[in-house]
C-alpha cells in the first residue's frame, strides 16, 4: 500500500511537475506527461495488487521476504553515511573518508586497532594519490583546510 500511496502522490504532482510545451506541441505524438502517467499508474495498480491480490484470491498472505523485514539497526550505517557525506563539505573528502572507515569498521565488529588504522590512512591516501594527484580530479578539501592540500 505504501508503494500505491507514493505512486498516487507522484501522479497528483504530474500536472505541476511536467509542463506542457509552449512550442512544437503539434509535432509530437503525445504529451510529455504521458510516460510518467503510464509508469505511475502501473506502479499504483501493481502496488495495490501486491497488497490486496492474495486476499482477493483467498490465498494466504504473501510470506515474509527471504531477507527478513528491515531492522531498526540499519539506521546506524545509514546515519553514518549521511554524516560522512555531510562532513565532506566541512573537513574534506580525505579526512572524512578516514573517519568513515574507522567508524564503519568499528560498527561492523572490527576491534583490531592496527587494521583499522592502516585502512583509515591507506585508503584515503590512495584515493588522494590516484584521483587528486594522478587523474587531476578535484576532491573537496573542506572549508577547514581550504588551500592546504
Amino acid at each position: 500500500m505504501v508503494a500505491t500511496a507514493i505512486s498516487l502522490v507522484m501522479l497528483a504532482l504530474v500536472p505541476s511537475q511536467v509542463l506542457e510545451p509552449k512550442f512544437g506541441a503539434r509535432s509530437i505524438a503525445f504529451s510529455p506527461k504521458t510516460m510518467p502517467v503510464i509508469a505511475l499508474t502501473l506502479m499504483a495498480i501493481l502496488g495495490a495488487l501486491m497488497a490486496i491480490g492474495p486476499a482477493l484470491a483467498r490465498q494466504d498472505p504473501e510470506p515474509s521476504p527471504p531477507e527478513g523485514l528491515p531492522q531498526i539497526r540499519v539506521l546506524l550505517p545509514i546515519g553514518l553515511m549521511v554524516a560522512f557525506v555531510a562532513s565532506i563539505d566541512q573537513i574534506g573528502l580525505v579526512l572524512a573518508s578516514g573517519l568513515c572507515i574507522t567508524a564503519l569498521a568499528y560498527l561492523f565488529g572490527n576491534r583490531n586497532a592496527w587494521v583499522i588504522a592502516i585502512l583509515a590512512t591507506a585508503v584515503p591516501g590512495a584515493i588522494w594519490l590516484i584521483f587528486a594527484r594522478s587523474l587531476r580530479i578535484f576532491l573537496p578539501e573542506g572549508r577547514l583546510f581550504e588551500g592546504l592540500l
Partner: protein, 502 residues
C-alpha cells in the same frame, strides 16, 4: 562495414601492453571480488565504473569485462571450498564442488572450474565476435516501431524471469521507467519532475543510481547482519586446497567431461543472447542437462566433476554473448551490460548498429580483448589456485568500509557533484528496501536506462504511422509485442525461483 580491416585493427589494438595490463588488473580484482562471498560482479563493476571516465574506452571497457569474467569464475572458489557461492552464478557449482572438497578433491574441482570457465567463456566470445556484427547489420534494417517492440519484449522478459514474483518484477520495471522520465523529455526537451532543483532537472545520474542500488545497499544489508551480533559476519570455515586434497585434475577426467562442456558452452552462449536470463539460469540448465545425459547421473550432488564442469561452463558462457544485444541493438540484457552501456556512453560510443559502422575497430578490439582476458584467466587462475583460500578469508568487516568510501568517490568523480553523492545515498536506501522486500533490481535498471529510448521510439512510431495501426502493419514489431505478452503470461505461470541476473 564489417571489413577485415576493422578486425585486424581491433586485434592490433587489443594486444597493446596497456590493454593487457588493464585486463590483468581487472581479472585479479574480479577473481578477488568473486571469491569474497557477498560481493557481486555487478557491485564490482558499479564501484569501478568511474575509472572509465578517465581512460580510453579500449582500456576501460575490457577492464570492466575482465572484472565480470574474473568474478564469475572467482565465485566458484568459495562455492567449492566453503559451500557458499561467491556470486549467484556459482550457486549450481556448490552442489558438486563442496562434496568434492570434502572428499579431498578440492584441487580437482577448482581446476575443473577454471578450465571449464575458460572454455565456456572462449566459446561465447568467439560466437560474439562472429555474430555481433551480423546482428548489427540486421538491426540497421529495423525502424522505431520494431525498436519499440524489442524494448517492450526486453522489459517484459526481464520482469518475468528475474526475482520470485512477476508483480514485483513489473513494479520494479515501472519504477525504473518512471525514474527514467525524470529530467528532460526525449521528444521535445521539457523538464519533468525537477522538483525545483536545477540538478534534478537534468535527470538522475545513472552512475549514482547504480552505485547506490548495488554497492551501498549491499553494505546496508551486510551491516544489518553484523551490527550487535557478535557471532555474525565471517565465521565460515575455509577448506584450504592443502587440507582438502592437492591432487591435480587428470587428463582422462577432463576428457570425460568433454561433451558436457561442449553442450554447456552452446547452451550458455544461446542464453546470453536473450536479455534478462543470465548466468544463474544457464548454470542450472546446464547442470540439469548434464545430469540427464550423464553416464553416472547418480554421482550428481555427491561430488561429480561433470556437475562442476556443467555449472561453470554454463555460467561463464553467458559472459560474451550477453554483449550481442547490447552491441547490436543497444539493449542491455542484465545489470553488468547496463553498466557497460553507461561506460560506452561516457566514452562517446552509443551501443547499437551504428557502433560497428562508426567505431568498428574499437568494438572488435573490445571483443578480442575478451579472448585475451580468457588466456589471462587461465594463467592467473592456475597460479592463484594454490592461494585462493586466503582470498576467501579476507573478512568483509575489512572490505565493506572501503567499499563505502569508494561509493562516495565514484558517485562524486564524474560530475564533481555532491548532488550525485546525495542521489547515490538515496538509491542506497531505496535499493536496501527493495531488496528486503524481494523486488528484483534488474528490471528497474534496464527500464531506467532504456526508458528515454523506449519513449522516443513510441513517439516516432506514432508520428510515422499516424497512430497505433503501425504496430499491426509492421510484422516484426507486432511479433515482438506478442512475444512481450507471451513473456508476461509465462511469468504468471512460472514457479517462484531464485533467478536474478543481478
Amino acid at each position: 562495414m564489417l571489413g577485415v580491416d576493422h578486425l585486424l585493427e581491433g586485434l592490433a589494438l587489443c594486444l597493446r601492453a596497456d590493454v593487457i595490463g588493464m585486463l590483468a588488473l581487472g581479472m585479479v580484482l574480479g577473481v578477488v571480488v568473486g571469491a569474497l562471498p557477498g560481493l557481486t560482479a555487478a557491485m564490482a563493476v558499479a564501484v569501478l565504473l568511474p575509472i572509465s571516465f578517465f581512460v580510453d574506452p579500449i582500456l576501460s571497457i575490457p577492464f570492466l569485462l575482465a572484472i565480470t569474467k574474473g568474478a564469475i569464475f572467482g565465485g566458484s572458489i568459495p562455492a567449492i571450498l566453503i559451500n557458499t557461492p561467491g556470486t549467484g552464478a556459482a550457486a549450481a557449482t556448490v552442489l558438486d564442488g563442496y562434496p568434492l572438497a570434502r572428499q579431498g578433491k578440492a584441487r580437482k574441482a577448482l581446476e575443473m572450474a577454471l578450465y571449464s570457465s575458460v572454455i565456456g567463456d572462449t566459446t561465447s566470445d568467439v560466437a560474439t565476435i562472429f555474430l555481433a556484427g551480423l546482428f548489427a547489420t540486421a538491426a540497421l534494417l529495423v525502424g522505431p516501431p520494431e525498436y519499440f517492440g524489442i524494448f517492450l519484449f526486453a522489459f517484459a522478459l526481464i520482469s518475468s524471469v528475474t526475482g520470485n514474483s512477476l508483480t514485483r518484477g513489473l513494479f520494479s520495471a515501472a519504477l525504473g521507467l518512471f525514474l527514467g522520465t525524470i529530467g528532460l523529455d526525449p521528444l521535445i526537451g521539457v523538464s519533468r519532475f525537477g522538483l525545483g532543483s536545477v540538478e534534478l532537472s537534468a535527470g538522475i545520474s545513472f552512475i549514482a543510481l547504480i552505485i547506490g542500488l548495488f554497492a551501498l545497499s549491499e553494505l546496508f544489508l551486510f551491516a544489518e547482519s553484523v551490527i550487535f551480533r557478535r557471532s555474525g559476519g565471517d565465521s565460515t570455515t575455509v577448506v584450504s586446497t592443502r587440507d582438502a586434497g592437492n591432487e591435480p585434475l587428470r587428463m582422462h577426467e577432463f576428457r570425460a567431461c568433454g561433451r558436457t562442456i561442449a553442450r554447456s558452452s552452446a547452451l550458455g552462449t544461446m542464453i546470453g543472447i536473450v536479455p534478462g536470463i543470465g548466468q544463474v539460469v544457464a548454470a542450472f540448465l546446464s547442470y540439469t542437462l548434464a545430469r540427464r545425459f550423464s553416464k553416472h547421473p547418480e554421482e550428481f550432488g555427491k561430488g561429480s566433476l561433470e556437475g562442476v564442469a556443467a555449472a561453470e561452463t554454463g555460467n561463464n558462457a553467458v559472459n560474451g554473448s550477453s554483449l550481442i544485444p547490447l552491441l547490436s541493438f543497444g539493449v542491455p540484457g542484465d545489470v553488468v551490460t547496463a553498466v557497460l552501456f553507461s561506460a560506452f556512453l561516457v566514452n562517446g560510443l552509443r551501443p547499437g548498429p551504428r557502433l560497428f559502422e562508426d567505431h568498428g575497430a574499437v568494438v572488435y578490439a573490445i571483443l578480442f580483448a575478451m579472448l585475451v582476458s580468457n588466456v589471462l584467466m587461465l594463467a592467473f587462475g592456475f597460479i592463484a589456485l594454490r592461494y585462493v583460500a586466503l582470498i576467501s578469508r579476507i573478512p568483509r568487516q575489512v572490505v565493506f568500509p572501503v567499499v563505502a568510501v569508494l561509493c562516495v568517490v565514484g558517485a562524486f568523480a564524474l560530475n564533481n557533484s555532491m548532488f550525485d553523492v546525495q542521489i547515490m545515498l538515496f538509491f542506497g536506501v531505496l535499493g536496501y528496501l527493495l531488496r528486503k522486500f524481494d523486488f528484483p533490481l534488474a528490471p528497474m535498471i534496464i527500464t531506467f536506462i532504456l526508458g528515454p529510448q523506449f519513449e522516443a521510439s513510441l513517439g516516432q512510431s506514432l508520428i510515422i504511422g499516424d497512430g497505433l495501426s503501425i504496430f499491426i502493419e509492421r510484422p516484426l514489431a507486432l511479433a515482438f509485442i506478442v512475444l512481450a505478452a507471451v513473456a508476461v503470461i509465462w511469468g504468471t505461470q512460472r514457479r517462484p525461483g531464485t533467478i536474478d541476473s543481478a
